[in-house]
Amino acid sequence: MAEETRGRLGGTAEEARGRLGGTAEETRIVKRRIHEYPDDSWTIERALDDGAYEGARKAITTMQPDGVIDLVKASGLRGRGGAGFPTGVKWSFAPKDVFPKFIVVNHDEGEPGTFKDRELGENDPHQLIEGIIISAWAVQAARAFIYCRGEFALGSRRLDKAISDAYERGFLGEGIYGSDFDLEIVLHRGAGAYICGEESALLDSLEGFRGQPRLRPPFPAVKGLYGQPTIVNNTETLGNLPDIVLKGADWFRQWGTEKSPGTKVLSVSGHVNRPANYEVSMGTSLADVLELAGGMREGHTLKAIIPGGASAPLLTSTDIAMDFESLKDAGSMLGSGAVVFMDETTCMVRNALVTTAFFEHESCGKCTPCREGTWWGVKVLERIEEGDGRREDMDLLLDICDGIDGRAFCPLGDAAAWALRSNVKLFREEFEEHVSLGRCPFEDEERILVGANQGGGSGEAGVMPQPAAGVPSDADTQS
């Protein structure tokens, strides 16, 4: 089993690790334990041996809740799920005198190209639980929910085991660390809807309703799950907390930029030699990231980059720093940190079609522009790709994007528009070529990489690599 899942990368875990330690530098906070103990990082024994739960202990036994909030504010930690909202500030929005409050972990990682939370959940669940304890203490929530993406079969089993181990050792339940603070964690598995990664749709889904975003205000921090104050945080965000508590804001700020401190786990995939999760200091240049990933595959040249998940507008150059501000200034976004490198064999019409079809499929159907706009976009792109495009279709596509962007109910629609628009704008000649030729100019197998199992000419690289090291079998979690 273990052999099989590693197959695409070839070789053993040892060799895989070797590949990860390339020439460019990784900076590991949330991935440190996974990196150092690839064989058993997810077990409670290893985690405790490595100092897990000491951050939570420090927070609860020596700090006031507000003190923790202030510390996290001072650290400048920003949400790693995509929006980049300052975590401490979000916490402070929860009213102090309304109980119960809830912590909800957004572990519904669904952004195409992103696989960081999956690795963190599978291989270091205790770091996540410790982060939950710290955040729950900070906002005084006695119950936390982990909304786990339904497809994370292994991850959810590991989390389940980790939660019960944490209960057993007294890190969860009543009177944590001898204090009078209680915390329950409920693991909830989603049912496969991308929209449930949007925090308010996640809450509706958690409550048992259709997963659809809620009207805001009120924001979840004020009225969230079951109408109570609810803090929704991403898995990677919480993973930073133990070290911030133990080592302080200044320690954390030694990496990254003034406005985007710390590190970011980037899920690198596409036509690169070593697709994997790389944790780098915020502001690392995209060129370095490409180098970490082993560069483009032999004999091919870079054509386009998705810098922050399928929602992020495309880039065509690696000359950019990977942090929230720089990417925003470049007209794109850091998003969830999924970096997809595409080489010259990629058909951008097909790329736009696959991306837009994804958003159409995942649109919840609540608001008009997203529901109808993505439907329409797919129809037009299909026509162009099949050779039935018209001269006016490119402008029509841009108009459809304008009709969605900024007018949809939630960011899903906006994202669909950004992605499509950047494809059309940056590669308009390629779209026009489709129209004038009356067919797709690319070889059928090579026009885009779709999924890990796309057969044929994609060579060594794959879009969806398995977590690089120590991929466990299911048997590991049987106790």
């Binding site: 529901r371 439907w375 129809k379 007018r407």
Partner: protein, 852 residues
């Protein structure tokens, strides 16, 4: 912020003061700036899903949905900003790519918000060339509602109505993304009492009315505002007529009464008006004892002598008469004929409405329906409102849902309110009064702990024929002790008006005690059966079907008394009539209904009455003239002048106030609805201008009718709130009355006997509602509700048959095991194959049960 708490808001350059927190879309609308919308409906919470109402607000980075943005101080809004207009155009283009555009065969065409807003704000043509999304066409999701998912724009109004307002969640969103559709769950029928509201609020033709399907184009309709003639809530309606037939009724909004809603009985139960068996001519019996059409002169002549017998005449009026009819009946009986034996209580015989005078200057409610929403606690003792007063049920539900009002229900059986009641006191059979006392003395815990101020105590007669003196008396005591308000709920549209006008044996018009108390309905029927009366005048009354002892009613009518009947349709009682005088139905006449909060709302005629049928008050005037008194009341104004003079409680109400309440024309009609009724009455507001704006003020292109459908009718209807007469204070409310508290029936019951509860279900065999085929099809079959232990003792189980037997007769009924007090059974009043009034005897009826 100004001194009165308003904030200054500027919309398209016009500045107004608005209450902070109100929605931008509403504030703009009141200024005459109509922001296009599909999902927003003023009766429901905003969801902001259609994105049609996006507007530009100064300082906001993106366009914002006007339906979800509360106004705030110094807000500057531009609804015709270039971006906003572009968004509106784009949104319509999106909505239309998958809309079938089958307007020529769509019932909505001509009064369709999608059509109208496309004309006003949409692009001229579509750039969409691909195949449209298709669904199976025209699903009949119930006997009343047809669903066409291709037309749907997924505004969710129907789903939200189902969830938020009706609370029955029959209609749902299924699937997601572009495949999202509206459906009933699991192909179950849309079995809601309120389903028709979803048709009315649907902004496209996705939900259409099965009875009205393909019947008319909107521009061929003549329409007039009216008031529902069924129950005492009094929902305002419009009646739509085509080719002389009443073909549709829809709810008109009145935020005091029904908000925006009405029930399916009120909406679909109109077929009786244009029914073929309407009485069109006076009838008298010929020598062969058969009815023969005669002239009014002949008929009135035949009735004159029998009606001149003074105290040997009994008068019974039915509950669907207007206030003016009631005035005519009371005046004819008490003054012209000179008999005190006049009553209007049939199904509600035994309901002591006059007790309300102990807490009020009127024999009626001191609370309004809106008071339910500002109350902290509502106590309900009475019938199941969802069956008998459906829209009051919605308002009670809203009070609970939107205002967290606590609801305490006292009932011997499970009723609809139990679903959300804070406390349910399941009393012994006949033990309602004791339970009410328990709320006062605190013995009925935990409900008593939630008795709080402000409180509204609602009472209505809970079971036909049952003596309610003890129950209503205890409710009155609760009102007194706790300083609560009273909502008195008589059953029918005309019930309260009949009390007000003195169609009552102990009260004269204006609630003055009658100098010589007369016989009540039971007494009148008994006297007739005993030969003590010579003549019975039935005005819209069918005692054999409605009085809770049909045997006594039949005996009375068959006793040889001379029966003069005023009716709209043949009834069982009519078989015993000697003279029949045809009456106009509610859609054919002017008048007012007085609802359960004593609010008068105006009916407008939209149809001619069949043949020579006329309003009952005019019939009364004719009879009076034949008896030698010329009232001189040819029209509505004259009746009201007479009422002003004769009824102190209604002295201040002018006919003009009732009829011509100042209606500011809604500013947006391009061609408002206009129509002439037979009486020459204009039936709706004049046309106005569509707001100048996006299209440079060019006039609206479509529709002879109300161009923007219900939202705009709502605007106008808001200015017709109806009037509640203020009653001159009485000197003292009478000495406290010592009432014998009726002992619980369980104590009085012989072994083996069960207390018999009954009550009307929404769709039954009533003369009016049973003329609507679609409602008859969904009428429930007769049943008997029993306590599980009682069923077990009879060695029977749920679904089995049991024989229900009383002195009056027996019926074999299917058992429904339910949450009802042990020792009590419930039988619906009037379902096909069962008239519960054949079983009911006396003021605390009991039955025996046995295996068939």
């Amino acid at each position: 912020m100004s001194s009165n708490g308003g904030v200054k808001v500027t919309i398209n350059g016009q500045t107004v003061e608005a209450e902070p927190g109100r929605l931008l879309i509403d504030v703009a609308e009141e200024m005459g700036i109509f922001i296009p919308r599909f999902c927003y409906h003023p009766g429901m919470k905003s969801v902001a899903v259609c994105r049609m109402c996006l507007v530009a607000v100064e300082g906001m980075p993106k366009l914002v949905p006007a339906c979800a943005i509360p106004v705030a101080a110094d807000m500057e809004v531009n609804t015709v900003d270039e971006q906003a207009v572009d968004a509106q155009k784009g949104m319509l283009e999106f909505l239309l790519i998958n809309h079938p555009l089958d307007c020529p065969i769509c019932d909505r065409g001509g009064e369709c918000p999608l059509q109208d807003q496309t004309y006003a704000h949409g692009p001229g043509s579509s750039r969409y060339v691909e195949p449209k999304r298709t669904f199976e066409k025209a699903l009949e999701i119930s006997d009343l509602v047809v669903l066409d998912r291709e037309r749907c724009v997924l505004c969710w109004r129907c789903v939200r109505f189902s969830d938020e307002i009706a609370g029955d969640q029959f209609i749902q969103l299924v699937d997601r993304g572009p495949g999202t559709q509206i459906l009933t769950f699991n192909d179950e029928p849309f079995d809601s009492y309120f389903s028709g509201n979803t048709i009315q609020i649907c902004p496209v033709g996705a939900l259409t009315s099965k009875p009205y399907r393909f019947v008319s184009r909107p521009w061929d309709l003549v329409s007039a505002p009216s008031v529902c003639a069924y129950c005492s809530v009094g929902c305002p309606l419009t009646n739509d007529v085509r080719g002389g037939q009443l073909v549709r009724t829809q709810a008109l909004p009145n935020e005091n009464v029904n908000d925006f809603w009405t029930c399916d009985k009120g909406r679909f139960g109109y077929h009786y008006v244009s029914s073929e068996d309407r009485l069109a001519s006076p009838l008298i019996r010929n020598v062969r004892q058969e009815f023969e059409p005669v002239s009014w002169g002949q008929a009135v002549g035949a009735a004159t002598e029998p009606l001149s017998r003074g105290r040997r005449v009994g008068v019974i009026a039915g509950g669907h008469l207007t206030t003016e009819d009631a005035y005519g009946v009371a005046r004819l009986a008490k003054r012209t004929i000179g008999t005190p034996h006049v009553d209007s209580r049939l199904q509600d015989a035994g309901a002591p409405y006059e007790l309300a005078l102990e807490v009020s200057d009127a024999a009626g409610s001191t609370a309004t329906i809106n008071d339910l929403e500002s109350a902290r606690t509502i106590v309900w003792v009475g019938p199941d409102p969802k069956e008998t007063l459906p829209v009051l049920y919605l308002r009670l539900r809203q009070a609970w849902g939107d205002h967290n009002t606590k609801v305490i229900v006292i009932s011997a059986r499970r009723i609809s309110l139990d679903g959300f009641a804070t406390h349910v006191v399941r009393c012994d059979p006949g033990g309602e009064a004791l339970a009410l006392q328990g709320l006062m003395d605190g013995s009925e815990l935990p409900a008593a702990s939630d008795v709080g101020d402000p409180m509204v105590v609602c009472w209505g007669p809970s079971s036909p024929g049952r003596d309610e003196t003890g129950i209503f008396g205890a409710a009155i005591e609760l009102v007194k002790v706790k300083g609560a308000k009273l909502l008195m709920c008589p059953p029918h549209a005309g019930s309260q008006g009949l009390i007000d006008m003195g169609v009552h044996p102990t009260l004269d018009a204006g609630y003055n005690p009658a100098p010589t108390p007369g016989l009540d309905t039971r007494g009148i029927l008994q006297a007739a059966a005993d030969g003590e009366l010579d003549t019975l005048l039935l005005v819209g009354a069918d005692p054999i079907a409605d009085f809770p002892d049909s045997e006594l009613a039949t005996r009375a009518l068959a006793s040889g008394v001379f029966v003069v009947a005023v009716e709209i349709l043949p009834t069982e009682s009519l078989a015993y009539a000697d003279v029949v005088l045809p009456s106009a139905a509610y859609a054919e006449r002017e008048g007012t209904f007085t609802n359960l909060e004593r609010r008068l709302q105006k009916l407008q005629p939209v149809l001619p009455a069949p043949g020579s049928a006329i309003e009952p008050w005019k019939i009364c005037a004719r009879l009076a003239a034949a008896l030698g008194e010329n009232w001189g009341l040819p029209d509505f104004d004259d009746v009201w002048r007479a009422i002003n003079a004769d009824v102190p409680s209604h002295a201040g109400l002018q006919a003009d106030h009732l009829r011509n309440q100042p209606v500011t024309p809604a500013p947006y009609y391009e061609s408002g609805f206009e129509g002439e009724t037979p009486g020459g009455t204009r039936v709706a507001g004049p046309g106005g201008q569509y707001p100048h704006g996006h299209r440079g003020g060019s006039p609206f292109q479509t529709g002879q009718n109300w161009p923007l459908s219900w939202e705009l009718r709502a605007f106008e209807a808001k200015q017709r709130p109806g009037l509640i007469p203020s009653v001159p204070a009485r000197n003292g409310h009478g000495a406290p009355v010592v009432r014998a508290t009726t002992p619980p029936a369980s104590a009085a019951r012989a072994p083996g006997r069960f207390a018999l509860y009954s009550g009307r279900l929404i769709y039954d065999e009533g003369t009016m509602v049973s003329r609507t085929t679609a409602l008859r099809a969904i009428q429930k079959k007769p049943f008997v509700e029993m306590h599980p232990e009682d069923v077990k003792e009879l060695e029977l189980s749920d679904g089995d048959s049991v024989v229900v037997e009383s002195d009056g007769g027996a019926a074999e009924l299917r058992i429904i095991v339910s949450d009802i007090a042990k020792g009590a059974v419930f039988v619906p009043y009037d379902q096909e194959g069962l008239r519960a009034n054949r079983l009911i005897r006396g003021a605390s009826p009991t039955v025996a049960l046995r295996k068939p």
